[in-house]
């Protein structure tokens, strides 16, 4: 099967919610080191609400999943990560066309990442969630170009995101709270990049 259906998208967020719940304390500790110690709590609260909303008004289409998730994140998380993650999924939803092929998914995801970069005024290397999401998007695009299957494409995206998150460690932050620390932000993984890697890891597990 080459197309991703509504259940796939729901499963994506369910798995992301599970991973974030599992790693909540780790994310908060990463945020404690260079931020304000709330990223795990923020995202866990947001994704719990996302799952609740999806259960309460079951979506009919992938677009509805993304639109619902994006809106819920914006409406329930607050902080920097709420609007930023919310915008990724909202924009992705806007860009997505049915039926969802890997190429369609990749193109829409890229639009989500671009919206994030625009909203956060962040570029690769600023030590933010962009550092995980942009490489993931690139990995998806390359997979499409190379005709790779969905499962492998998602796995490559997850790997790219995980590597991107790791790569934030030696960087000095230029955006978000961590930037206040100047050189002291060096040596710590960005919490948003870490949570973004979880989103992509979740995607890999739900691949058809």
């Amino acid at each position: 099967m080459d197309t991703l259906d509504t259940a796939c998208f729901v499963a994506w967020f369910e798995e992301a919610a599970r991973l974030v719940r599992r790693d909540r304390d780790r994310l908060t500790e990463l945020d404690a080191a260079i931020g304000d110690a709330d990223h795990g709590t923020n995202l866990d609260r947001g994704l719990t609400e996302v799952i609740k909303a999806l259960a309460e008004s079951p979506p009919d289409t992938p677009v509805q999943v993304l639109t619902s998730a994006g809106a819920t994140l914006i409406r329930r998380v607050g902080g920097a990560s709420g609007p930023l993650y919310g915008s990724v999924f909202r924009q992705m939803g806007k860009a997505l066309r049915a039926p969802v092929t890997l190429a369609g998914f990749s193109a829409a995801f890229e639009e989500g990442v671009v919206a994030l970069e625009r909203l956060g005024k962040a570029a690769l290397g600023d030590k933010t969630m962009v550092d995980a999401l942009a490489p993931a998007s690139r990995a998806l695009a390359l997979a499409v170009r190379d005709g790779v299957g969905v499962r492998e494409a998602f796995e490559q995206a997850a790997r790219a995101a995980a590597e991107g998150a790791q790569a934030t460690i030696p960087l000095q932050a230029r955006k978000g709270r961590a930037s206040y620390l100047g050189e002291r932000s060096i040596g710590h993984e960005d919490p948003g990049a870490a949570s973004a890697a979880l989103f992509m890891a979740a995607l890999a597990t739900v691949a058809v």
Binding site: E29, G35, D36, A37, G40, R75, G79, L181, R184
Partner: protein, 326 residues
């Protein structure tokens, strides 16, 4: 960690219930704190907000002569657009609404989203960024908004109360921010209810210099020294960025866990520093106003006053956290 809470998840709601019970002058609806009497036709509405954990900021500054509404987020987490939209609509008396936003990515994004989404209300916004500990460069998110937020809320609030139009209120609010600088020092980390342990470890011998109000570590760690020397570090940082002169509004602010007595000790040193520079403490505040949960430490915020700002500072204010003249 021992905290007077029921659960980490309910702390913001529980505290707001306490505020509502303690202050009949406030109405709380959907996690927004309003003046009980509602908007005054023709008056510019003032809305602020931000993460909780900085009490009395912002909800404690809702009332005559200051804010019309405050939007408290979760602990250290900016409010969501829905809260800000609700507040903005509710406080509009037909003259528009000023958003007073502390410069944090989260606060900025959520207030911006709300401002875009709110309809039929003219919205202006002022960004508070007074913390000299942060370099204001392309390589940071810009300076943080800290103690000057109180000054902006008070002075803009007084001007709005007088019936000034939105543009004028926004302009003066911006002016107060431009004329204000802060610097903070932590003796201990705060502990968020959810994390349950200190955000950073600080040995008995050290302090963090240049901290913000969210338990972020500061710009650097230094040995613990006397109140005189710590006040000197804060004042040199402020004076180096904005040479002190003339009449000053000076706040020595506790971070939440520091007793008033110690803040007065610091204030004595700050006042001596000001005098040494040939400037004058014209107005002052000493107390826990813009806090960071249970953190021990202090910040100094200074605003260069002029006659107009002094008059607005002195104007009556009646809020849970700041009150004079009525």
């Amino acid at each position: 960690m021992k905290k007077l809470i029921n659960t980490a998840d309910s702390v913001v709601e529980d505290a707001l219930n306490g505020m509502a019970a303690a202050h009949p002058s406030l109405r709380i609806r959907d996690q927004v704190v309003y003046r009980a009497e509602g908007p005054r036709p023709g008056k510019v509405g003032l809305v602020s907000g931000g993460g909780s954990g900085h009490e009395p900021l912002h909800a404690g500054f809702v009332g005559y002569g200051m804010l019309d509404a405050a939007c408290p987020g979760e602990i250290f987490t900016s409010p969501v657009p829905d809260q800000i939209i609700d507040a903005t609509k509710a406080v509009d008396g037909g003259a528009g609404v000023l958003h007073i936003v502390k410069n944090y990515t989260g606060d900025v994004l959520n207030f911006e989203m709300a401002a875009e989404l709110v309809e039929d209300v003219e919205v202006a916004s002022v960004l508070v960024d007074d913390d000299v500990a942060v370099q204001d460069s392309l390589y940071t998110a810009g300076r943080r908004g800290t103690g000057a937020t109180l000054f902006v809320e008070k002075i803009a609030g007084a001007l709005a109360e007088e019936g000034a139009p939105l543009g004028e209120v926004a302009r003066v609010a911006g002016e107060v921010d431009e004329r204000s600088r802060s610097f903070g020092i932590a003796l201990t980390s705060c502990t968020t209810p959810h994390a349950g342990k200190p955000t950073f470890d600080l040995p008995e011998t050290d302090v963090e210099l240049g901290i913000g109000i969210h338990g972020e570590p500061g710009r650097r760690r230094a040995p613990m020294v006397s109140a005189r020397e710590l006040a000197g570090i804060a004042m040199e940082a402020i004076h180096g960025d904005m040479p002190l002169h003339g009449d000053l509004l000076v706040m020595v602010n506790g971070m939440g866990g520091t007793p008033l007595m110690e803040l007065y000790v610091v204030f004595a040193e700050v006042a001596a520093f000001v005098k040494g520079k040939g400037a004058r403490v014209s107005r002052s505040l000493v107390g826990n106003y813009v806090t960071s949960l249970d953190m021990q430490g202090f910040s100094v915020t200074i605003c260069l006053l002029d006659d107009a700002l002094t008059r607005l500072w002195d104007a009556p204010v009646e809020t849970p956290g700041l009150r004079w003249g009525r």
